[in-house]
């Protein structure tokens, strides 16, 4: 029996096969959507760049060479060099690591926090809901970048603090989303059945409600990734994110601003990287929305 027939088996023989089969089905449908496939390809390139940066990059990202300052793109320096003679291509490739780190950590911190707060709020309702959603509304009512700026100002500049600041500002939309989803099925019969089997509130929320909120949260997180990258770049641009000489894309644009009229490539190349990666996340997010929609799985 080949792997694909095993994965698409109508009557799986084990739990693992059933779950892998579902994952395979999602992957296959993602691949059938050209934009989602493009998004996946872009992100795959990003991950590969981050993983193999030292081997891909022809030069050191921080090694200065003042003799070769501000060279335009050429065969030796594909994206040119900056004001300290550093190879921009090498810096962009290494910057992928920072971008991935920021995006990954923000998602890992803010999505679960938002999910749990939202699910608890929606499940219990009443005063729990009012208090939790009140807090969420306060965070939502402040502009993201300003709030992040305030946190960074309080915590001190640096990439770790930038990540924490962005994560703190990113969770409220997930809480809202998870609450709205929870409200639609907190009175569903399968939730009642779990309660009637003697399951505790924590069990019902953790094992029955959260799994149903995750797909919409994953979609939302993917679509928000672009915004997170831009916020991180914005913080870097303002000098409050990654500190020199770290090759963070936003910080690179900020440095290139001084030369933008005569040496356009210094600011444009990292900007281009930000656009491509943000687009990649958006495409993937749109594709995931089509595929993970619970109703699409029911169609014969």
């Amino acid at each position: 029996m080949s792997l694909t027939t095993w994965l698409t088996d109508d009557a799986p023989a084990s739990r693992a096969q059933a779950n892998l089969g579902r994952a395979y089905d999602i992957f296959r449908r993602l691949c059938r959507n050209p934009l989602a496939a493009l998004g996946m390809a872009i992100l795959l390139v990003l991950v590969l760049c981050a993983a193999f940066a030292p081997w891909i990059a022809p030069y050191s990202p921080i090694g200065q060479d003042l003799g070769n300052r501000l060279l335009p793109p050429s065969a030796a320096h594909w994206m040119g060099t900056d004001e300290l003679g550093r190879d921009i291509f090498s810096r962009v490739v290494h910057g992928a690591r920072l971008t991935l780190l920021i995006v990954g950590l923000v998602a890992v911190i803010s999505a679960p926090v938002g999910l749990i707060l939202g699910a608890v709020s929606g499940y219990f309702g009443g005063w729990v809901d009012r208090i939790l959603m009140g807090i969420t509304d306060i965070f939502l009512s402040l502009p993201k970048l300003i709030l992040a700026l305030a946190f960074v100002a309080a915590l001190g500049p640096g990439i770790e603090n930038a990540i924490i600041a962005i994560a703190i500002t990113a969770w409220p939309p997930y809480a809202r989303l998870a609450r709205a989803e929870t409200l639609t099925f907190r009175n569903a019969e399968f939730v009642q059945a779990a309660r009637l089997a003697g399951g505790s509130h924590a069990r019902v929320i953790g094992l029955h409600i959260l799994p149903l909120c995750t797909s919409s949260t994953i979609i939302r997180v993917t679509l928000d990734m672009a915004g997170i990258i831009l916020t991180a770049a914005g913080l870097g641009f303002l000098g409050l994110g990654a500190q020199p000489p770290l090759p963070e894309w936003g910080a690179m644009i900020s440095r290139g601003r001084a030369f933008i009229l005569d040496q356009w490539w210094v600011a444009t190349m990292p900007g281009f990287a930000i656009i491509v990666v943000s687009l990649g996340f958006c495409f993937l997010g749109d594709g995931l929305r089509d595929v993970l929609d619970p109703k699409s799985g029911d169609k014969a």
Binding site: P12, R15, A18, Q192
Partner: protein, 255 residues
């Protein structure tokens, strides 16, 4: 009718949803091993009584006793091994992202029961589902198959009482016949007590020993299944329901 020891005993039960009272002064006794039906149209409060017994409609006054023990106002672990419920909608009562295996193992896991794998296979067999359904997701099953899974889940903790909320009204007639046969067989084999909510009088005639006709949250009449089959019902409302549910047979009697 009175019993020395009722399986389910309701006395002066009033149930509220917020400010509205949906059930008024309901008193009834279900004998051990009996199959009892609550019959009425939508809004008659019949399903609400099941929910109150299960602890899903916590706002009530009066007495609810199951197996001689008074019920609390919420679901609790000890009670869940005594009494379980089968819901009306086979599409809404199974978690859409869990395999049948996970759904059936859940109650066993909560109560820390051993031999879960063997029990799940056994449960599937008891409700007439092939073992190859075990690792499928609900959306891969038909309505009738899902309702069998829901029944298997209700049986997982081996309760003595089953509350059935319109268990077949969302199903095709041929599937309804299969599920009704299954419920009848399970009751015989396991000595279960049923309290069943339905609007379908012929189903009551097939499944139940006695019935209570409800209207606007009150019991109009409690009658035996024999009285139902012959149309010997006492109150005008019950007779009206009988006539509407049975147009062919009564057509000849009418001028």
């Amino acid at each position: 009718m009175g019993f020395d020891m009722s399986a389910i005993h309701l006395k002066d039960l009033n149930i509220f949803y917020g400010d509205t009272q949906v059930v008024h002064d309901v008193t009834l006794d279900v004998a051990p091993g009996e199959s009892f039906a609550l019959v009425g149209e939508s809004g008659s409060g019949k399903s609400t009584i099941l929910k109150a017994i299960m602890g899903l409609a916590p706002d009530w006054t009066g007495t609810i006793e199951v197996d001689g023990k008074p019920r609390s106002h919420g679901p609790d672990r000890a009670f869940s091994r005594q009494c379980q419920m089968v819901f009306q909608d086979p599409y809404g009562s199974l978690h859409p992202r869990k395999t049948i295996d996970a759904t059936l193992a859940e109650p066993l896991l909560i109560h820390g029961l051993k031999n879960r794998d063997a029990r799940v296979v056994e449960l599937l067999g008891e409700v007439g589902l092939d073992a190859r359904f075990r690792f499928r997701f609900p959306h891969q099953l038909s309505g009738g198959q899902r309702q069998r899974v829901a029944i298997a889940r209700a049986l997982a903790l081996e309760p003595k009482f089953l509350l059935l909320d319109e268990p077949t009204s969302a199903l095709d007639v041929s599937i309804q016949a299969e599920i009704l046969n299954l419920l009848k067989r399970l009751r015989k084999e396991r000595g279960l007590t049923y309290l069943m909510v339905t609007h379908n009088l012929p189903v009551v005639a097939f499944m139940c020993d006695r019935l209570a006709v409800m209207r606007h949250g009150r019991i109009e009449e409690i009658a035996s299944a024999e009285a139902l089959k012959t149309g010997a019902l006492a109150t005008p409302y019950a007779r009206e329901l009988y006539r509407l549910s049975n147009p062919e047979e009564t057509a000849e009697e009418q001028p």
